[in-house]
């Protein structure tokens, strides 16, 4: 009887240790992923700070509560048939564990409110506006030639338009270090304009004129994708993002317009 009890004890402890290790491993894996994705805009960096703050609080809550749970299971497992003390509750404790979460909630809310205001602060005038048209099942990016940021010619007329097709994803080209506004339009169903490394998405809603402004701070090749189920080939609404220097951007514009400044439409086919 004693041996069996011992074995049961060992087996249970092993199981509990497994659970504990599993939980710890989970945290380990999760924290190893901090920094993915790579925030490439001013806005994304603020969002990342908020994410890390939230993750830190979450980790503390997780460790404390899951730790208390595992401790209770080991410490208070049944050892004999004696009835434990029948405590029914504690008003003081109820107030404590209502109060502490309220404080955490207020801290989280305040910080996220500040970040929200910063991220959505479009008062800083944008240098250029890119019109993003979502359609089943690709994207069209349109640049007005008289609105191309610092080097644009206010007198220029026409536009550059990049349209994706089923065969080839379109590439969105933007210059670094300039506030850029995206204007999101749809004529069919709801899409969502999502670029992982912006840490941002905004829905593309028929009947709405949704806009957001970002300033990219790192050149490179990135990707984006529709994030709102929009029908059959939703999964294929992918696009590429290229963040380039101002010189490279001007070159790209010249390439698109054939150096004439007239309107040009390039099909990515």
């Amino acid at each position: 009887m004693a041996v069996t009890g011992m074995r049961r004890h060992v087996r249970r402890s092993l199981l509990l240790v497994t659970v504990a290790l599993f939980a710890l491993a989970s945290i380990g894996v999760a924290s190893a992923q901090v920094g993915t994705p790579k925030p490439i805009t001013d806005e994304a960096r603020k969002i990342e700070d908020l994410w890390i703050f939230t993750l830190a609080l979450a980790a503390v809550v997780f460790v404390v509560v899951e730790g208390a749970l595992i401790y209770a299971l080991v410490r208070f497992r049944k050892r004999n048939d004696e009835l434990p003390a029948q405590t029914h509750g504690s008003t003081v404790l109820e107030f404590v564990w209502t109060g502490i979460p309220v404080l955490i909630v207020i801290a989280l809310f305040t910080y996220s409110f500040i970040v929200l205001r910063d991220v959505e602060n479009t008062a800083a005038a944008e240098d250029m506006t890119i019109e993003v048209q979502g359609f089943q099942f690709q994207w069209q990016f349109t640049y007005q030639l008289n609105d191309l940021g610092v080097n644009s010619d206010p007198a220029a007329s026409g536009e550059i338009s990049v349209i994706g097709t089923a065969a080839e994803e379109p590439t969105l080209v933007i210059p670094i270090d300039e506030p850029i506004e995206f204007r999101l339009l749809s004529n069919d169903v709801i899409h969502s304009f999502y670029i992982r490394d912006f840490l941002y998405k905004l829905d593309v809603v028929p009947g709405r004129d949704n806009r957001f402004v970002i300033t990219a701070r790192e050149t490179g090749d990135y990707f984006g994708q529709c994030a709102e189920l929009c029908g059959l080939n939703h999964a294929l609404m992918r696009f590429k993002l290229k963040v380039v220097t101002r010189d490279e951007f001007d070159l790209w514009v010249a390439e698109q317009t054939g150096g004439t400044g007239d309107s040009a439409v390039r099909r990515a086919d």
């Binding site: 969002i47 749970l69 208070f76 009835l83 405590t87 504690s90 929200l116 994708q225 189920l229």
Partner: protein
């Protein structure tokens, strides 16, 4: 120790054939069993659909199923799991257990109860018959966002009608549960002596009564848009695409609590019994349940932060706030086990699975309440991880806790303990292997509801792990099935109260007679059986 003799209703003079009896029964116990069979069947169907989803996503650029089929499969997976499994499975447990727990002979309206149940199978058949029609089954996701859902084939209409039928079922069921609990409690059982599972069913019923008709109105509008030239959700006809989301989530966020509160109730029955202590903070727990129910109506637009069409700070704040009563519950559960005498039978294991996994489901939800973080996470696999930590780690573990706990009462036999333990560990590990990687996939930018992903995305390894986990979960159903079959092959041998439990359902025989009770103990607390075992109230 005094008992109250319950007057015995007159039975049928002649016993009816078994099949006819099951088809026409108005006995809450038989209807409860029918609910459980039906919903577990749809759990299996939804599970097979989930395996198809995971098989398609196991490797990059896969073509195991077409995009078209994929959209139908994941839509029907969620629809089956939410509308045909989780929501009605609580009606199943509630039907069987609530009248017994309050010492009643049946539900208040037995015929309405039968109607509630008999709406479920035809709704399920209608919804799945979409696979037979031109264009296939519904494929706009369980959320049926418009204008997308406006333009799809007739499978969408079948889906709409099915969900309306299920809505009627749960609305009239909700009224029935409310009246039953308000009017039919045993002598001495005040509202604040009612078992906690009943309380959670009561709050769930209130949510259903208030929220489900709103969903019905949205579905009716969508049906009109689709079939009679309406334009409620079509901006080209003067409608508003965001309107659907507002109405849908006004129902569907409270619906999340409809899907989890009774599970919390089951956990709150199991933990005290297997810790041999009363539920810590019973009253606080009741108010926390009401608090979750009330706040549940003020957070719907947190599903819509990226639409640009909602007041984000308000909904962000209210969403954070709902963590407070949820935290209270978590601490009360820990308080229940603290200094207890904990034993680890299968119902307890599943309850502990609930605690440890629902905790993660609560914590990872706060990321989406921080609005700017939600900009990154919304509509990615992070959210898929979140809902599964709540609805699988929470609700499904609670379903199995409830099945192992009440099986002896319902069927008079006990499920094999070893098989229960095997099921638990397979399911627990499989669950985490399936859903934990989804957090990382979401962070890494994988949107939900995509039929495939490119080789360059770097998402393949985590997806493969997730798929392996899904099949491990499927494997965990083998010991469960074996345990059920083995139990049914044995004679009924269970005493009234095999667990040393607390509530009235354990006072009567296992299974109970048609009229439930020959007599009842006096009720002086929320634990009448404990009082009876230990000589009166006051413990």
């Amino acid at each position: 120790m005094t008992s109250i003799v319950v007057p015995r209703p007159e039975g049928f003079a002649h016993p009816r054939p078994a099949l006819l009896d099951w088809l026409t029964t108005v006995d809450h116990k038989k209807l409860g069993i029918l609910y459980l069979y039906t919903t577990m069947f749809f759990f299996g169907v939804g599970g097979v659909l989930a395996l198809l989803v995971r098989t398609q996503l196991a490797v990059a650029d896969n073509s195991f199923v077409s995009n078209d089929a994929y959209n139908q499969i994941f839509t029907m997976h969620a629809s089956a799991m939410l509308f045909l499994f989780i929501i009605p499975v609580w009606a199943g447990f509630g039907n069987y257990v609530v009248p017994l727990q309050i010492g009643a002979a049946d539900m208040a309206f037995p015929r309405i109860n039968a109607l509630s149940f008999w709406l479920v199978p035809p709704a399920g058949i209608l919804m799945f018959s979409g696979f037979l029609v031109d264009g296939g089954a519904a494929q706009a996701g369980w959320t049926a966002y418009s204008p997308l859902a406006r333009g799809l084939g007739p499978g969408m209409d079948l889906w709409i009608i099915a969900v309306i039928l299920l809505g009627i079922s749960s609305t009239i069921g909700a009224a029935n549960f409310m009246v039953t609990m308000f009017r039919m409690r045993a002598p001495g059982m005040t509202m604040f002596r009612m078992p906690i599972f009943c309380w959670t069913m009561l709050v769930t019923a209130v949510l259903q009564l208030l929220a489900t008709p709103v969903l019905a109105s949205a579905l009716a509008m969508l049906y009109i848009d689709r079939n009679f030239g309406g334009a409620f959700f079509d901006p080209n006809g003067g409608g508003n695409a965001i309107l659907w989301q507002n109405i849908f989530w006004f129902y569907s966020h409270p619906a999340v609590y409809i899907m989890i509160l009774p599970g919390m109730g089951i956990i709150s029955e199991v933990l005290p019994v297997f810790s041999r202590k009363p539920l810590f903070g019973y009253t606080a727990f009741v108010f926390a349940t009401m608090g979750i129910g009330g706040l549940g109506f003020s957070v719907w637009a947190h599903h819509m932060f990226t639409t640009g069409a909602v007041l984000k700070p308000w909904f962000g704040f209210m969403t954070f706030m709902i963590g407070v009563p949820t935290g209270v519950k978590m601490f009360n559960w820990l308080g229940t086990m603290w200094r207890g005498s904990i034993s680890f039978e299968a119902p307890m294991l599943f309850a502990l699975g609930f605690l440890s996994m629902f905790l993660i489901g609560g914590i990872n939800g706060t990321f989406s309440a921080a609005v700017p973080v939600d900009f990154a996470l919304h509509d990615t696999y992070f959210v898929v991880a979140h809902i599964h930590y709540v609805l699988f780690g929470g609700s499904v573990f609670a379903v199995f806790a409830g099945l192992y706990y009440w099986f002896p009462k319902i069927w008079g036999r006990r499920l094999n303990e070893r098989l229960g333990q095997a099921q638990f560990w397979l399911m627990f590990i499989g669950f985490n292997l399936t859903f934990f990687p989804m957090h990382l996939l979401g962070l890494d930018g994988m949107p939900r509801r995509i039929a495939t992903y490119s080789n360059e995305s770097g998402w393949e390894a985590l997806n493969l792990a997730s798929t392996v986990g899904a099949f491990l979960i499927a494997t965990s159903m083998i010991p469960f099935t074996v345990a059920v079959v083995a139990a049914f092959m044995r004679p009924k041998d269970q005493p009234n109260d095999p667990w040393n439990a607390n509530t009235l359902e354990w006072w009567t025989t296992s299974p109970p007679p048609v009229h439930n009770f020959d007599d009842l103990p006096e009720v002086h607390s929320e634990r009448p059986l404990f009082d009876a075992r230990h000589g009166g109230a006051g413990h």
